[in-house]
C-alpha cells in the first residue's frame, strides 16, 4: 500500500518517540536514569559524610599536639558512660518523648476539626494559620518566648493579674519543653491532618451502620487510622528535639539543662574534641534509626 507523506509522518517514530520507546523496552535503563541522580546525591554527599563522621568517633585527639590520632580506639564510646552524659542523654530522650506526646495531644483534635468538621473555607484558613508561623524566624520565636517567660515577662504579668503569683520559669527544662512543643507543633499537625483527611466518609458511615456511637467510632476507626500520621509527626518532633542546640543556648541555660545537641556543639570548637562529638552524635543517630524502623512497621511512611 502506498502511503502519503502525511500518513507516513504519523507512522514513523520521531526522535522523542524513539527514545521513549527504547526506554519502554529497557526498564532497567529507566530505573537507572530515574534513580541515579538522587541516589548519587545521597550516597556521595550525605551517607559518605555520615560514614566519615562515624569513623572519626573511633579516633582520639592527642592532648599535646591536638591532632587527630588515626588509631582505632573505643575511648570515646566509653566516655559516653561517664557522668553526666548518661543523665544528659536520658534528659534529652525524656524531653523529646514528652514533647512528642504533648504535641500529639494538641494536634489530634485540631487536625480532626480541620479535616472532618470544618467547612472548606475554614479549613483553608486553618491550613494557612498552621503554616504561617514556620515563616516567622525560628530564632525570633524562641527569643519571643524569653520575653514571655522571663521574670516580670508577659506570663508573669498575666498570672499576677489573675492573682496566681509569678512562675518565672525561663531558663529551665520546663521552658525548653514549652518552646519545643510550640516550635514543632505545625510539624505534628500537618501529617495528622493528612492522615485524617484520607479517611473515607464511607468508613465512618459503615461504623455508624454497625451500631457504634461517636466515641466508639472515634476510638476504633478514626484513631487507629490517624496513628500513622501521629507517628510520622513524631519523627519530626523526636529528632528535632534530640539534636537542637539553639533552644538550649537561648532559653535553656539554667543549670541541669544540657541536652545532647549543645554538648555536641560545645565539643567541636576550642575543645577540639571532634571524635567525642562524633561518638555522642551516634546516640541520636542510633535512636532515630531504631525509631524509624519502628515507625515504618507502624505504617507511618505511607502517611507522610
Amino acid at each position: 500500500m502506498v502511503m502519503t507523506k502525511e500518513a507516513r509522518r504519523g507512522r514513523e517514530p520521531t526522535g522523542v518517540a524513539r527514545v521513549s520507546a527504547a526506554l519502554w523496552r529497557r526498564a532497567w535503563l529507566r530505573a537507572a536514569l530515574t534513580l541515579s541522580p538522587p541516589l548519587a546525591w545521597f550516597l556521595i554527599i550525605y551517607l559518605a559524610s555520615l560514614v566519615v563522621m562515624l569513623v572519626t568517633a573511633f579516633w582520639t585527639v592527642n592532648s599535646f599536639t591536638n591532632n587527630l590520632q588515626h588509631q582505632f580506639s573505643l575511648t570515646n564510646f566509653g566516655a559516653l558512660f561517664d557522668a553526666p552524659i548518661p543523665a544528659i542523654i536520658g534528659r534529652t530522650v525524656l524531653l523529646a518523648a514528652l514533647v512528642t506526646v504533648t504535641d500529639a495531644v494538641l494536634a489530634l483534635p485540631f487536625a480532626y476539626f480541620m479535616a472532618r468538621v470544618a467547612s472548606r473555607r475554614v479549613r483553608h484558613a486553618l491550613f494557612v494559620a498552621v503554616l504561617l508561623p514556620l515563616w516567622a524566624s525560628y530564632l525570633a520565636r524562641v527569643y519571643a518566648w524569653i520575653v514571655i517567660l522571663t521574670k516580670d515577662g508577659t506570663l508573669d504579668w498575666a498570672t499576677q493579674r489573675l492573682g496566681l503569683g509569678s512562675p518565672n520559669i525561663a531558663y529551665t527544662n520546663l521552658a525548653m519543653g514549652i518552646v519545643f512543643c510550640y516550635i514543632w507543633l505545625p510539624f505534628m499537625i500537618l501529617p495528622v491532618y493528612a492522615a485524617l483527611e484520607r479517611i473515607p466518609d464511607s468508613f465512618i458511615e459503615a461504623s455508624a451502620d454497625l451500631g457504634a456511637r461517636n466515641a466508639r467510632t472515634l476510638r476504633s476507626v478514626v484513631l487507629p487510622l490517624a496513628l500513622p500520621g501521629v507517628v510520622a509527626g513524631s519523627i519530626f518532633t523526636f529528632s528535632l528535639t534530640l539534636g537542637d542546640y539553639i533552644t538550649p543556648l537561648l532559653i535553656g541555660s539554667g543549670s541541669g539543662t544540657n541536652l545532647i545537641g549543645n554538648v555536641i556543639y560545645d565539643n567541636i570548637g576550642l575543645a577540639n574534641d571532634l571524635p567525642f562529638a562524633a561518638a555522642l552524635a551516634m546516640v541520636p543517630i542510633a535512636i532515630m534509626i531504631a525509631y524509624l524502623l519502628g515507625a515504618r512497621a507502624l505504617g507511618a511512611f505511607e502517611a507522610m
Binding site: T34, T56, Y112, Y138, Y182, A208
Partner: protein, 267 residues
C-alpha cells in the same frame, strides 16, 4: 455527625491552639515597635523608628536576597531529585528498595547538627570551599525529603493505569509525563515546594555549618540577637517577612485544596 458538645469542645480546642501558635508571633510584632533595644515587658516607648532602620539597612537586604536565592535553588533541585526518587522507589523493584525509603528520610530524621557536621566534614575532605553552593547543597539534602514524601504519597494514591492508558492511546513517554503524570502530582509539587522553601528560608543549624562568610537571613538574625543592639530591627524584619508570605501561602493552600485530595473524591 458529631454531637453539639463535641463541636463546641473542638472549636474551643482549635481556638486555644491558635492562641498558643500566635502568641509569640503577636509578641514579635508588638516588640517591633519597641524603642528600647533591651526587650522586656512592658514596653515603655513605642516607635516606628526601627522600620526605617530596617528598610535602609543594606545587610538586611543582602541577607534576605541570599536566603531567597538559596531557597529557590534548593527547592528547584529538590523538586527534580525528590520527584525522581519518588518515581524510582514507587515504580521499580530493586535491591535495597526498602533501605532507600528509610535512608531518604534521614536528612530530616537526623538532627540538624549531625547533618551539618557531616556535610562540613565532607566539604573539608573534598577540599570544597564553603560558599552559596555549599549552602544550597545542604538545604537541598533535607528539602529532597519533603518533596519525596509529598510526591510518593500522591502517586501511591493515583492509579498506574492512567499512564498505561495514555501510552495505549499513542503518546510517547514525554507526552505522557506532560499531559498525564505532571498534572496528577502538580499540587503535591506545589505544597511540597512551598514547605521545602519555608524550611530552607528559616534554616539556621545546617546553614551555620555549611555557610562560609555568607549571611542568610537566619544567620543575620542570629548575629543581631547576639549583639543585642538591634533586637527591634529583627522583629521588624520578621514581621515584614510574615506579612509578605501570607499571600503566597494562602494561594498555595487554595491551590492544593488544603493539602491533599478532598475527602469526597476518595470512596
Amino acid at each position: 455527625m458529631e454531637g453539639r458538645t463535641t463541636r463546641v469542645v473542638l472549636v474551643a480546642w482549635v481556638i486555644g491552639v491558635l492562641l498558643f501558635l500566635f502568641m509569640p508571633i503577636a509578641t514579635i510584632v508588638l516588640f517591633a515597635f519597641d524603642r528600647s533595644t533591651v526587650q522586656s515587658w512592658p514596653i515603655q516607648n513605642y516607635t516606628t523608628h526601627w522600620f526605617s532602620v530596617a528598610w535602609d539597612d543594606p545587610a538586611v537586604r543582602s541577607a534576605l536576597w541570599l536566603s531567597v536565592k538559596a531557597g529557590a535553588a534548593a527547592t528547584f533541585l529538590a523538586l527534580v531529585l525528590g520527584s525522581l526518587a519518588a518515581f524510582g522507589v514507587h515504580r521499580y523493584r530493586f535491591f535495597g528498595r526498602e533501605a532507600i525509603s528509610l535512608f531518604i528520610v534521614l536528612p530530616i530524621a537526623l538532627p540538624g547538627i549531625i547533618t551539618g557536621l557531616a556535610l562540613r566534614s565532607f566539604f573539608t575532605f573534598a577540599g570544597i570551599n564553603l560558599s552559596l553552593m555549599t549552602i544550597v547543597i545542604g538545604h537541598t539534602t533535607f528539602c529532597i525529603v519533603v518533596i519525596y514524601n509529598n510526591v510518593i504519597a500522591r502517586i501511591r494514591r493515583t492509579s498506574g493505569s492512567l499512564g498505561e492508558a495514555s501510552m495505549d492511546l499513542g503518546a510517547n513517554g514525554l507526552q505522557t509525563f506532560r499531559y498525564v503524570t505532571l498534572p496528577t502530582i502538580a499540587t503535591a509539587l506545589v505544597s511540597g515546594g512551598l514547605l521545602a522553601f519555608a524550611l530552607s528560608f528559616d534554616e539556621v543549624i545546617v546553614t551555620t555549618f555549611t555557610a562560609g562568610a555568607q549571611t542568610t537571613l537566619p544567620i543575620w538574625i542570629f548575629g543581631a540577637i547576639r549583639l543585642g543592639q538591634q533586637l527591634p530591627e529583627v522583629n521588624v524584619v520578621v514581621t515584614a517577612v510574615l506579612a509578605l508570605t501570607v499571600i503566597p501561602v494562602a494561594l498555595a493552600a487554595k491551590l492544593t485544596g488544603g493539602g491533599g485530595m478532598t475527602r469526597s473524591s476518595v470512596r
